[in-house]
């Protein structure tokens, strides 16, 4: 695989771009692997990459029922941040952000990570107090966090609606190292880097069943034949319950919900940051892509669904939020909108844990925040699979935390998955 560097760019520029090799192989499945990761999304690919890179486990397959970048990897709003408060979460997401900062170099692939700042508006003294507490906790843990007063905010983002009498803008909580990245490049970058280290990426390979032996999963039935794996990892957020029940493991603290996002036509540079507007139940986040499109999203559709398509009431809701905070967007036209299916968990936090089957490992429950978590998710899931015990950051991100009463509930919303947006 040709490395991306200045020399190769010049060389291929002079040779009609004819010496570039394909980004990753399209191998036939082998009969057995040391580790089989089910799910070729960002988390599955990152896991395979870190298994090979950090733990020298190279006989790894990633099974993807569709194509790389076709699931939730291509259905998000690409926001990366680490403004978490709960123990376990803040260390995890901060490590993820650190991995993002060097990801392009690490993968030899430009993921276009742009640390343009994540700006969370607040609209009441109560909201300011609440967010100050969270951002102070972040600072105590060494994550960057600051508050912008109204004067600073007006200077940085002049065209917000500062005359909103219902929800007046009082300032913003800001994480400057946060930002966004190009989602496709992250998927392709991880796939290419994992493939270079010997990982087999098997696309159009849907899992249809499991064969059990002595309590373990011995082999996986797929649309491309039977594949054996000494260790097996699930990384199929959105469809975790389906696979879990295929393995006859019963229920999970997960419901599948869908989340919509929108892309507008391209406009001239308008917004340099990621802006979040959240009042009452409403929730709206927006950034501008490098092409100039406004990329934005809102809340869940509020009812459980596996359909990868959104419904109209939420389109209206998001449009209303956009107009409330960015009236200048009033005549912008939408190019596309889509919905992704997500694992919403009972406390809003994820699972990287062992399962009742000793050679099966679970990576699931990413709620709203799977994209930003991808590097650390792969890092700690690979660590769990290789070392067979969880790192301290994820030691409570397991299925037993609910019975123990140690839920990791950032929002304090209780056991109702749709409320953990």
């Amino acid at each position: 695989m040709t490395k991306f560097n200045a020399w190769n760019v010049i060389k291929n520029g002079l040779n009609g771009q004819s010496y570039w090799t394909r980004q990753w192989r399209d191998p036939e499945p082998k009969s057995s692997y040391d580790v089989v990761i089910i799910g070729g999304g960002l988390h599955g690919l990152a896991t395979a990459y870190y298994l090979a890179k950090n733990h020298n486990i190279k006989k790894v397959a990633v099974l993807e029922k569709g194509w790389i970048g076709g699931g939730n990897a291509g259905r998000n709003t690409t926001i990366v941040r680490s403004n978490y408060m709960m123990p376990g979460n803040h260390e995890f997401y901060e490590h993820s952000l650190k991995l993002w900062e060097n990801l392009s170099h690490d993968l030899n692939y430009n993921v276009m990570f742009s640390q343009r700042a994540h700006v969370s508006l607040f609209h009441s003294p109560g909201a300011k107090d609440s967010v100050s507490r969270i951002y102070n906790i972040m600072k105590l843990h060494g994550t960057d966090a600051e508050l912008w007063d109204l004067k600073t905010l007006k200077k940085k983002i002049p065209h917000l609606n500062y005359n909103n009498s219902r929800f007046p803008i009082l300032g913003a909580a800001v994480q400057k190292r946060a930002g966004n990245a190009r989602h496709d490049a992250v998927a392709w970058g991880y796939a290419r880097a994992a493939d270079t280290l010997g990982v087999d990426i098997l696309q159009n390979c849907e899992v249809t069943g499991f064969t059990r032996k002595n309590g373990n999963i011995e082999s996986i039935q797929t649309s491309r034949g039977i594949i054996k794996g000494k260790k097996i990892g699930f990384a199929v957020a959105g469809n975790t319950s389906v696979l879990w029940q295929m393995a006859e493991l019963g229920n999970l603290p997960i419901e599948s919900h869908k989340l919509q996002a929108f892309v507008s036509e391209a406009v001239k540079p308008l917004l340099d940051q990621v802006v979040v507007y959240g009042v009452g139940g409403a929730h709206f986040y927006i950034s501008q892509s490098d092409k100039g499109s406004m990329v934005f999203g809102g809340d869940l559709d509020w009812y459980k669904s596996y359909a990868q398509r959104g419904n109209l009431p939420m389109v209206q809701d998001v449009a209303e939020a956009a107009m409330a905070i960015f009236p200048s967007l009033g005549r912008i036209r939408l190019l596309r909108h889509w919905a992704g299916v997500m694992d919403m968990t009972m406390d809003g936090s994820f699972f990287i844990c062992k399962t009742p089957i000793s050679n099966l490992y679970l990576n699931a429950g990413w709620n709203y925040g799977g994209f930003k978590a991808s590097p650390a998710s792969g890092w700690y899931f690979a660590d769990l699979i290789a070392n067979e015990s969880p790192h301290t950051y994820v030691q409570n991100h397991n299925l037993e935390r609910f019975e123990k009463g140690i839920n990791i509930d950032e929002r304090g919303a209780g056991p109702d998955p749709k409320l953990h947006g």
């Binding site: 469809n239 019963g250 229920n251 459980k304 596996y306 359909a307 109209l312 009972m346």
Partner: protein
């Protein structure tokens, strides 16, 4: 838009309703084990296909309904009042 045929108000847009959740959850007796309570409160089947779920007609008659709906196509097979006595009343008035 999903259209829900409310037994009291007739067919309405789902934006008049609030989604509740899994209608098959049964809470165990008060002296049941932690395990059973954890299972009832936190663990779900998360069906891909037709499931029984509750909806509240919050911008209509304010009744809680049990809806049998596909989580893949959003097709609705049946809508009934949650309360068994009200189910009987609706049946008798048909």
């Amino acid at each position: 838009m999903i259209r829900i045929n409310c037994p009291y108000c007739g067919e309405r847009d789902h934006s008049e309703f609030n989604y509740g959740g899994d209608a098959t959850v049964k809470y165990p007796s008060l002296d049941s084990s932690e395990k059973e309570w954890t299972e009832a409160i936190f663990f779900r089947k998360n069906i891909k296909g037709f499931q029984l779920e509750t909806w509240h007609h919050s911008h209509g008659c304010r009744m809680w309904l049990v809806v049998e709906r596909s989580t893949v196509t959003h097709e609705i097979k049946s809508v009934k009042p949650c309360h068994p006595d009200l189910q009987k009343v609706v049946e008798n008035n048909k």
